[in-house]
């Protein structure tokens, strides 16, 4: 293991120059995260691995014409999302059973149990978690990309093929909806907590 951490930008520029080690290092670094992300946006888990390989193979093959991305991670996530969408769209078996949109963020969010020490906080977090999971998939995906992957608005816009302002609105709506239910409907909250504790 190298003691010095080599930055993504450095690895990328080595890769463009034809360094296989840089390519492999980036692959090793991002493969696990991409598998997780891929599986959260399609139920066809068997195609995810193949799509990741395609994304990386293209990077290598077209490295001389690629521009340097601001964030390698955002570039890879975005590349994978598009690749999966295209694969599902083209394949007649998949497109038949697909809903309105082929790529749908379906992973459930979970509470960060180990960080919660207080029971009152726990019950609130559990309730919020239910609410977040009930958000429409696109809102949930935007929240995930923004606050879990920590992508910028521009990067999310590119990924979800929306314009900048729409992403801002989407995220704002998600938080607003969350808060309005959370803050406004205490009786419901009590009911829900009662149900959860059965």
């Amino acid at each position: 293991m190298p003691a010095v951490v080599i930055s993504d930008a450095e690895l990328w520029s080595d890769l463009v120059m034809g360094s296989e080690t840089a390519f492999s290092a980036l692959f090793r670094k991002y493969h696990p995260g991409l598998v997780n992300y891929g599986k959260s946006i399609t139920m066809h888990h068997n195609i995810v691995g193949d799509c990741i390989q395609d994304v990386f193979a293209d990077i290598w093959l077209y490295r001389k014409t690629l521009s340097t991305p601001d964030s390698v991670r955002a570039y890879l996530l975005s590349g994978l999302r598009k690749r999966i969408a295209r694969k599902l769209e083209r394949d007649p078996i998949f497109s038949q059973c697909a809903d309105i949109e082929n790529v749908e963020f379906s992973a459930p969010v979970t509470i960060l149990d180990e960080l919660i020490t207080n029971e009152e906080v726990r019950s609130q977090v559990e309730y919020l978690n239910v609410l977040i999971n009930q958000l429409p998939p696109r809102q949930k995906e935007a929240l995930y990309l923004r606050y879990h992957q920590q992508l910028s608005m521009e990067q999310i816009a590119d990924m979800m093929q929306m314009n900048y302002q729409s992403v801002v609105n989407l995220l704002h709506r998600a938080i607003k909806q969350l808060r309005s239910v959370w803050k406004g409907e205490i009786p419901q909250l009590m009911l829900l907590l009662a149900l959860l504790s059965i």
Partner: protein, 355 residues
């Protein structure tokens, strides 16, 4: 400080220092203290904290071997695309090239075996489709591999399995180096063949173990259930039967240096793994107990709603079935809306109770 000027939850959600405190408990900027003020701003921050805690993502652990295999498969993809002329290797981490070279050697050997004249022609076809996956278990624990046809293989550490993404219409072929326990989904019109060193094992649907380490003098096939046929890849010297049929609990050794099979014997328990020794026929057994048995047999973790399933009992016979079919039957017999999901080697059972 800036935090006093924040007016929206979003500003907290994306503040790196706030995130470190809320998500990792690292309080560089005295958030804990600051939150105690109880002003409007800190209330917003409190909400942001709860939202972050409620919005975790389960990132499942991807085994290193999976990443390595995927990387190697990617290089193969690049190589086969024609335009991917690989440049001369540069400096850092040279061990990688050794690994890549080993893989190429492995593929070369596989190719060589497949081209043996005694082999049916279709074997070459499988390879020419260029959709072979190579999984090498570099971990210290057995690895579960699910095949496209619903069959499953438990691959021992240091062992390698090569299989196509999609099997041929008429035949299912894999090749093994090292040790694996196979549970093959039944399909008489599509026999399943395992190529392991000099031995080919042919079944239509059954379970068995093969030990074919390249540094061992013999190849062993140990049958758990069903009918298994073994034969030598190269038709050997005179007097030796071409094909030997094995029955449940029998094992056979193929001595490599003189290319002969020994007589089949009853398998000794020590040559097998936990999966062969466990009973899968259940009589009025709690579902949780059945799932524990599966966890033990396959070396897997199964997530399931313990509370909801605590009063559910099943009677079922699962011995002869691959993992996915076992799970399917458990879910179906539990009833209600019980179903299972396999995601990145994690099995989760969802249920709202039993009938």
């Amino acid at each position: 400080m800036q935090r006093n000027l924040y007016q929206t939850i979003e500003e907290y959600l994306q503040d790196p220092s706030f995130r470190r405190w809320a998500l990792q408990g690292i309080d560089d900027d005295g958030w804990e203290q600051w939150m105690k003020q109880g002003s409007g701003t800190t209330n917003l921050a409190r909400e942001a904290q709860l939202i972050l805690l409620a919005m975790g993502w389960q990132e499942s652990q991807i085994p290193e071997a999976e990443t390595e295999n995927a990387l190697q498969a990617t290089w193969q993809k690049i190589g086969s695309s024609g335009s991917g002329i690989r440049s001369i290797a540069p400096k850092r981490f040279t061990w990688l090239y050794a690994a890549a070279a080993m893989l190429l050697l492995g593929i070369g050997l596989g190719w060589h075996f497949m081209k043996q004249p005694s082999m049916p022609e279709t074997a070459v076809e499988v390879l020419s489709k260029n959709n072979l996956t190579v999984r090498l278990n570099q971990t210290k624990t057995p690895m579960l591999i699910m095949l496209e046809d619903g069959s499953s293989v438990i691959l021992q550490p240091g062992s390698q399995l090569e299989f196509p993404e999609v099997f041929d219409r008429n035949e299912r072929k894999v090749s093994l180096t090292g040790e694996g326990f196979f549970e093959i989904s039944k399909n008489p019109s599509r026999p399943f063949l395992v190529y392991a060193n000099e031995v080919v094992t042919r079944v239509v649907g059954t379970s068995f173990r093969i030990k074919a380490y390249s540094n061992q003098p013999a190849v062993e096939v140990i049958v758990r259930t069903g009918q298994v046929k073994v034969f030598a890849k190269q038709p050997a010297t005179s007097g030796i039967p071409q094909e030997i049929a094995l029955h449940p609990n029998e094992s056979i050794r193929f001595v490599r240096h003189d290319a002969t099979f020994e007589k089949p014997v009853i398998a000794a328990p020590h040559v097998t793994g936990p999966i062969e020794q466990l009973q899968f026929d259940f009589e009025d057994t709690p579902v949780s107990k059945i799932l524990e048995t599966i966890e033990l047999a396959y070396g897997l973790k199964i997530n399931y709603p313990k509370e909801i399933l605590k009063d559910c009992y099943l009677s079922t016979a699962l011995s002869d079935l691959p993992l996915q079919q076992k799970l399917k039957i458990i879910c179906e017999s539990t009833g209600g809306e019980t179903r299972y999901e396999i995601r990145a080697e994690q099995i989760t059972i969802f249920s709202n109770g039993c009938n």
